[in-house]
Assembly symmetry: C2
Homo-oligomer: 113 residues x 2
């Protein structure tokens, strides 16, 4: 499965339902991370590498190409940036930031016992 394009078969679903394509895309390592970090503002390749701490350049490039084809990010003079579609996606998942904190507080036994 090269790319999870809505309308075609994707990993995990033959139906090609857009939501399945999206879940496939977001389920790939670093997809969400790249979007999350780019939401802080445009970044060059190397800046993004630093924001993502531990991503390898080959994988970063792969993800960037995917996200670019799927029109969630674009290349501009100041580096990579979210498109308006990418931003609207981020606005949906933005509350995850707060949610994850609440979640962490309810998992006390694991994080430190």
């Amino acid at each position: 499965m090269p790319l999870p394009i809505p309308g075609s078969q994707v990993r995990g679903s033959k139906s090609g339902k857009p939501i399945m394509a999206l879940l496939d895309l977001l389920g790939r390592t670093w997809s969400l991370g790249v979007i999350w970090h780019l939401s802080q503002g445009p970044a060059t390749f190397r800046q993004l590498q630093q924001r993502c701490e531990q991503i390898s350049p080959s994988l970063l490039n792969t993800r960037l190409q995917e996200l670019k084809i799927l029109q969630l990010i674009e290349t501009r003079s100041d580096g990579y940036a979210l498109t308006s579609q990418g931003r609207s996606l981020f606005e949906i998942i933005a509350p995850l930031g707060q949610w994850s904190k609440d979640w962490a507080n309810h998992l006390p036994a694991e994080s430190e016992s």
Copy 2:
């Protein structure tokens, strides 16, 4: 990296920030899918396998154990179900269903030319 537990190091981040743990978790194949399909109601192991179309039992079991430890799902008499935390997470990502449809409509060149 066994499990993305907030507070400990996770794949892609040494900080242990909850959001990074969450992004790691959701970035694993089928994590989002399992949550998505479970949101339609509780399901037994084999029912879930069918909803997920193409998940292998070994991976399904792995994900179920992870999500159970992280308290997003629980086992009940009628099978697996989202916990209240799981449901609150789903409520955040629920709009992705509609978003993905809009997204698909803006990618006409790929889905069908």
